[in-house]
């Protein structure tokens, strides 16, 4: 069985490139969390200028006002600074990829990631400059898309990617397509969720009701898909797909609980006299617990997209190699026998 164990450092793998990709992915999650906090507290316009912060270069903005000033300002300015961290890490990724990675397509891909992070920053900036809530909504949706891009880059630069030669792992088509569908539906779900979160007084009740029903339908589909993915990933499926599938089941269950909590802390339940707690509960506007539940719901949503991306890319990678090197599968079967 020791033959099956991959080498420590496969050919083509670069620790620097993967390190940057991983750091970028890890930096995007808190960025989304804080961005979501900005929306929860309606703090998008807490700093009216961009790229400066109240006339200061954003890096030289006084620490005391940032940290001890209004909470809205803390959230918005922190979001901007975290955004620049993601930007720097993307530049590091591009430089390291062009220096160390031999794959031409990957080098170009990192440039696309760089363009995406610049675009995302611009969207955020224009949202402020134009005071446009719609742009804030788009910015929120594309944030998760960027998270998925960063995650896929981390997968494509990982040791697994270089080891996935089909001799070790084979992900079935059901798992592969389920993971893909899961990633797509999770993104659609987050987009619909963004509609609900950024809803303005101008939207009609019919529009809101339609969005709620779609959000619930997609939630049902995602719960179902997560269990299908989990049960269809066999022992020989790509390890990232396997692990992500388990993680997705857990995340989706947490997300359902957070979703119910989000509705409860925003609108209360429509049948309050169901039990004493609901009957006596008074929503606290901008309360800490309330805000954290809502923010966690958004952040977990983006984490589901992240995990689905890992599962999808790893699954297609093992399938892709198998297709191009059919003998690999044969050898693997022979070894198992």
């Amino acid at each position: 069985m020791s033959d099956l164990k991959p080498d420590y450092r496969p050919v083509g793998y670069s620790r620097a490139v993967h390190g940057f990709a991983l750091a970028l992915t890890l930096s995007v999650f808190p960025l989304i969390w804080v961005g979501s906090l900005v929306t929860t507290y309606d703090a998008g316009m807490a700093v009216p200028d961009w790229p400066t912060t109240y006339g200061y270069n954003m890096f030289t903005y006084p620490l005391t006002t940032w940290l001890y000033g209004p909470f809205d300002l803390l959230a918005e300015h922190s979001h901007r600074l975290l955004g620049t961290v993601a930007g720097m890490l993307t530049i590091g990724l591009v430089l390291s990829a062009w220096k160390f990675d031999s794959r031409t397509w990957f080098k170009w891909w990192t440039l696309i990631v760089l363009l995406a992070v610049i675009g995302q920053g611009l969207l955020g900036g224009l949202r402020v400059r134009w005071d446009a809530r719609t742009l804030a909504m788009v910015h929120g949706c594309t944030a998760s898309l960027f998270f998925a891009m960063a995650t896929s880059t981390a997968v494509m630069s990982s040791k697994f990617w270089f080891h996935a030669d089909g001799r070790l792992w084979s992900t079935g088509s059901l798992a592969r397509w389920t993971a893909t569908l899961m990633a797509l539906l999770s993104f659609a779900q987050l987009t619909v969720g963004a509609q609900l979160r950024h809803v303005t007084g101008g939207a009609s009740p019919q529009f809101f009701a339609g969005s709620v029903h779609l959000h619930l339908t997609l939630a049902g589909a995602i719960v179902l898909l997560s269990f299908v993915l989990w049960s269809s990933t066999t022992q020989v499926a790509a390890p990232p797909t396997r692990r992500s599938a388990l993680g997705l089941v857990l995340l989706v269950l947490v997300q359902v609980a957070l979703g119910i909590g989000t509705w409860l802390v925003n609108y209360a339940l429509p049948w309050p006299e169901l039990n004493e707690f609901l009957a006596r509960y008074t929503i606290q506007a901008k309360g800490y617990a309330e805000s954290m539940v809502v923010t966690a719901h958004v952040a977990t949503g983006s984490l589901i997209i992240c995990f689905s991306t890992v599962a999808t890319f790893a699954a297609w990678r093992t399938r892709a190699v198998r297709a191009t090197r059919p003998e690999g599968t044969w050898q693997w079967k022979k070894q198992l026998a």
């Binding site: 807490a46 006002t65 000033g69 719609t134 788009v138 101008g202 609108y267 006596r280 509960y281 008074t282």
Partner: protein
């Protein structure tokens, strides 16, 4: 075909399939993402007041007239009087009267209006859109995007009717009533507590609620008064084009409009003087929340008070059991509707259960009729406040817009309740969550237990 060529063909097909699948996956991902992000912008601009189409239609059908010219002129008059959601105004006629000008503070009104933003000093602007618009709507019509999901529906300010207040039935609330409601929220409903907001922010929101309510009530009254005009015969409610040509006629139009505006503002101004002050019960009077666990003597008095309250609750004067039920579970009369629903249902004598009949009005902004359910007094949830004084006020003042009437009181009504009797009912109501359900049957008058 040789084996080599076959192998080549096999590999080529395999590569092509692989690339095609990748391309499709990427295409679907990016295409879907772009399409979804694009859909995100499908919303109506927020900064316009929606006209009261429902009332205009109801009035038009009731009087068999075309209300479109009236609606257009009312909208124009309202914009002149009250401005826009981004730039609100307090009518000029009210600014001329000191006591009416003071009803709202212009600086605070501006602060509550407009888009959401905040500054380095943590001053928040656009407060209404930050905290209220999602449920109460831009016009304060209770038709924000979330409205259909909420139970009870968000308040429509335009009728000028508010439930929980310290003024008599049918009167406007005081500023203190509104501020308190904002601070406390309403338990068991979607109305949150805004106690984390600063006092000046709450005051700004109160100003804006009064502004929206006054604007909405003026709109209703202007629409109603316009039914007396014959627009086809050249009558006008508000025609700014004659301002220069025929100033006398324009002034006459404004006089009618201003009379309505001042009438509405006066009703708000009087509220403070109309508020009742509830005197605390005498020191030796037992109050449920105050004296539970007191001396045996006090406890004995409390039991007596609760027993008296139970009797009044089921008696003919207070007659609480008719709606709240013999068990006080809120299972009495449950077929009625609140005033916001009756407003359009009764005007046209519509059957709320006839979907076909009501559906055209739902499209105009009416919300699906829901029966108004009396409070289950055993849940310990009192929406207007859970202090004894709050329950006292609900009994003597009633709840506006609902079927909860104000109790008949002595000495105005010799058959009514005395203050102590009201406190007895308060004690009984507050004791209900702790009373075993089986005990309630003993208190039910024999005739009420008889089956029809």
């Amino acid at each position: 075909m040789s084996g080599k060529a076959l192998l080549f063909l096999k590999r080529l097909t395999s590569r092509l399939t692989n690339r095609l699948t990748n391309l499709l996956t990427w295409g679907a991902t990016l295409g879907g993402a772009i399409a979804l992000s694009g859909l995100v912008g499908c919303e109506v601009p927020v900064a316009t007041f929606q006209p009261n189409k429902l009332q205009a239609t109801v009035l038009g059908e009731k009087n068999s007239i075309d209300m479109s010219p009236a609606t257009a002129e009312v909208s124009a008059a309202l914009e002149e009087l009250f401005g826009t959601p981004d730039d609100p105004r307090w009518p000029a006629a009210l600014m001329e009267e000191e006591h009416l000008a003071k009803l709202v503070d212009m600086e605070r009104l501006q602060r509550a209006a407009g888009a959401v933003r905040s500054d380095e000093q943590d001053q928040h602007f656009g407060l209404y859109r930050e905290h209220c618009v999602h449920c109460h709507g831009t016009s304060g019509n209770g038709l924000g995007p979330t409205a259909t999901f909420l139970n009870p529906y968000p308040r429509d300010f335009r009728l000028g009717v508010f439930k929980f207040k310290s003024t008599p039935f049918g009167r406007k609330p005081t500023r203190t009533d509104l501020t308190r409601l904002l601070k406390e929220g309403i338990m068991g409903t979607s109305m949150p507590s805004f106690r984390l907001l600063k006092d000046d922010e709450l005051e700004s929101l109160v100003d804006y609620v009064i502004y929206l309510s006054a604007r909405g009530e003026v709109e209703r009254k202007l629409l109603a008064s316009s039914t007396e005009l014959d627009f086809t015969d050249g009558d006008h409610l508000y025609d700014p084009s004659i301002k220069e040509k025929d100033p006398d006629e324009f002034e006459a139009q404004m006089e009618v409009i201003n009379e309505i505006v001042i009438g509405v503002a006066e009703s708000w101004d009087k509220a403070t003087d109309q508020a009742i002050t509830v005197a605390a019960p005498p020191e030796d009077y037992p109050l449920f929340t105050r004296d539970v666990g007191g001396s045996p003597e006090v406890y004995g008095k409390l039991e007596e008070s609760i027993a008296s309250g139970r009797k009044i609750f089921h008696g003919n004067v207070a007659n609480c059991a008719t709606c709240h039920g013999n068990t006080a579970l809120g299972d009495g009369q449950k077929n009625d509707y609140d005033i916001w629903t009756k407003d359009w249902l009764q005007a046209l004598n519509l059957d709320p259960k006839n979907r076909e009949q009501i559906s055209p009005y739902l499209k105009l902004g009416a919300l699906k009729p829901r029966n108004i359910v009396p409070r289950n007094l055993r849940s310990g949830m009192y929406r207007g406040g859970s202090q004894p004084v709050d329950i006292y006020m609900r009994i003597v003042l009633g709840i506006d817009g609902t079927t909860m009437p104000a109790a008949a009181m002595k000495p105005q009504n010799p058959l009514g309740l005395s203050e102590n009797e009201v406190w007895d009912v308060v004690n009984y109501v507050l004791s209900l969550p702790y009373e075993h359900l089986s005990n309630s049957a003993a208190s039910v008058p024999p005739f009420a237990r008889e089956k029809p």
